[in-house]
């Protein structure tokens, strides 16, 4: 109950912020919340379960495209589209997970990289269904039970998505399932000897986190009211990886810190050095791996220990 109250309180505070911001900053705020949501689920897959997969952002794209195509190309009502879109993400995730998670490390990376590239090809070659290279635009979120969700009210939807994702992952993490994921990451052979079904654990973690990314994608589709191939390319897939590593892989707080830091960094750096901020990202990434493998959250732990 105390945990539920904490989640509700956080949701309330984060929602309240939306009503204080101008439309421009509301847009920035929404994207920040979406990056945090994605970093949290990717952290579970990569940081907690140790699966080096590059398909997470692709599932975000599948969710976004799916909901737009289902509603505006196929004419399905919104609730049906959301259910069908989630089912589609889970299905593609399972189809990808069952062969992929039999692969390890480097090979899983390659297989999921291929999936990510394949998705972009399908989007570009999808004709009128996907809108080709230009994507789909000029659509609006239908009314939800006669209620128009726009402006700060839509930001509240994103806050609920973030809190829901965080609460779900935290529940899983502090359970036998989360421990099994960490055990699989740390030592698969010992995990199996302790009774953990390694392949099954990997498939479930992959499917659950990919479905969460798909759900975030569905919400994202109505943020810019346009979906197009470049958004879901590898650049953002790697940015997501950077966020988790720079923040501190394996820790929820690390994912949040990494997402906030790397999302806001360009706003500070761009006026100073323009597009060269990507270079700074690369340097930060190397610095994190070499100097502080536990990331920003590791630095925070260290500081707290010294003060105590």
């Amino acid at each position: 109950m105390k945990a539920a109250a904490r989640w509700a309180g956080t949701a309330l505070v984060l929602s309240a912020v939306a009503f204080l911001l101008s439309p421009y900053y509301n847009d920035v705020y929404r994207k920040l919340l979406l990056w945090i949501t994605l970093a949290l689920s990717y952290n579970f897959l990569f940081g907690v379960c140790g699966q080096i997969a590059f398909s997470h952002f692709t599932f975000y794209g599948i969710g976004a495209y799916a909901v737009v195509i289902l509603i505006f190309q196929l004419g399905l009502p919104l609730p049906v589209a959301i259910v069908a879109g989630t089912a589609l993400c889970a299905l593609v995730a399972l189809a990808a997970a069952i062969p992929s998670t039999r692969l390890e490390g480097f090979y899983l990376g390659l297989a999921t990289l291929a999936l990510a590239q394949l998705f972009i090809v399908v989007l570009n070659e999808g004709g009128t269904l996907t809108g080709g290279t230009g994507g789909l635009a000029n659509y609006r979120l239908p009314k939800v039970f006669g209620f128009e969700l726009s402006g700060p009210r839509y930001t509240v939807v994103i806050v609920l998505l973030l809190i829901g994702t965080f609460a779900l992952l935290a529940r899983l993490d502090h359970s036998w399932f989360g421990r099994a994921c960490r055990a699989v990451r740390d030592n698969p052979e010992a995990a199996a000897a302790m009774g953990v079904n390694v392949a099954r654990t990997k498939v479930i973690a992959f499917a659950v986190t990919s479905a969460l990314a798909g759900a975030a994608g569905m919400v994202y589709a109505f943020v810019d009211n346009t979906v197009n191939p470049p958004i879901f390319g590898l650049e953002n897939a790697f940015l997501l990886l950077f966020m988790v590593i720079v923040g501190g892989a394996g820790r929820h707080a690390g994912a949040v810190a990494g997402a906030v830091f790397l999302f806001l960094l360009p706003f500070v750096l761009s006026p100073l050095i323009g597009h060269h901020h990507v270079l700074v990202f690369g340097v930060l990434m190397v610095a994190a791996i070499v100097l502080q493998p536990r990331g920003l959250i590791g630095i925070y732990d260290e500081l707290r220990r010294r003060i105590a």
Binding site: R179, D186, E189, A190, A193, I204
Partner: protein, 257 residues
């Protein structure tokens, strides 16, 4: 000496690696609460026997029955679920987790809450119960006060104790020890022998694969001696020590006996 029912039955167990027969038509039984040692010179087939029972490799012929049911050919995670837990000769802790969490991984097969129940917010009572059990086990092996310690800070001997606590968390009916004495100091060996006796006293069957006779012979109630993959002797430590075939196998290493 041991009055428990027969728990593990190994019959005609055979494993070949190419032209080499690592384990050849091996037979033995193990009872509840009994401490059985398997000894033999290097290359005798001890580790292969261990791996066959633990499910880490597949047998070519024979049968392994546990509590009346065949466990031959089951993958390691299903063997663990049946109630056979193990330690590793070279400690294999989960490095990213503190001591208590490591032990809780050992309890994996004891959790009954489904994933759906967890998502719905359930399973917290079970989690608390298992956590308390894990705390007791950490104390039982003598790592009390280290519940939250990073496993990287443990000594080698403490790491071995963690392996034992982690195995016991799975509520095994049979506990397998893979060369548990290797790398331990004399003081740690004494403590280890005490723990193994304590485990058997709980009615758990104990199977030790061991190199170190000075550790094993006072501890085991019965010993199976292997050489070139075959059983050459079986009996109490006293009987085995005087057995001509054993003395021959260990020729030149009589001090070890």
């Amino acid at each position: 000496m041991s009055s428990g029912a027969v728990l593990l039955e190994v019959r005609s167990l055979t494993k070949r690696f190419g032209g080499l027969t690592a384990v050849s038509r091996l037979d033995f039984d193990l009872r509840e609460g009994e401490i059985l040692g398997i000894i033999g010179p290097n290359g005798a087939g001890k580790s292969t026997t261990f791996n066959l029972i633990a499910g880490a490799c597949a047998a070519d012929a024979g049968e392994i029955r546990f509590a009346g049911q065949s466990v031959l050919g089951l993958p390691p995670h299903r063997i663990a679920a049946r109630g056979i837990m193990r330690t590793f000769q070279h400690n294999r802790p989960f490095g990213g987790m503190p001591v208590l969490e490591n032990v809780l991984v050992g309890a994996h097969t004891r959790f009954r809450s489904s994933l759906w129940r967890l998502v719905a917010g359930g399973g917290t009572a079970e989690e608390e119960r298992q956590r308390r059990r894990a705390e007791e086990l950490v104390d039982f092996v003598g790592l009390g006060g280290l519940h939250g310690a990073d496993v990287g800070t443990l000594s080698f001997g403490q790491g071995r104790l963690l392996e034992i606590a982690r195995g016991l968390a799975g509520e095994p009916r049979l506990m397998l020890f893979d060369e548990p004495a290797a790398g331990l100091t004399p003081g740690e060996l004494e403590r280890l022998a005490e723990i193994v006796r304590g485990i058997a006293a709980r009615g758990i069957a104990v199977l030790l694969i061991e190199h170190d006779m000075r550790f094993l012979l006072p501890l085991a109630q019965r010993v199976v001696v292997l050489n070139f993959g075959a059983k050459i002797a079986e009996g109490t430590p006293q009987e085995v020590r005087r057995h001509p075939a054993v003395m021959e196998a260990y020729l030149g290493d009589a001090a070890a006996l």
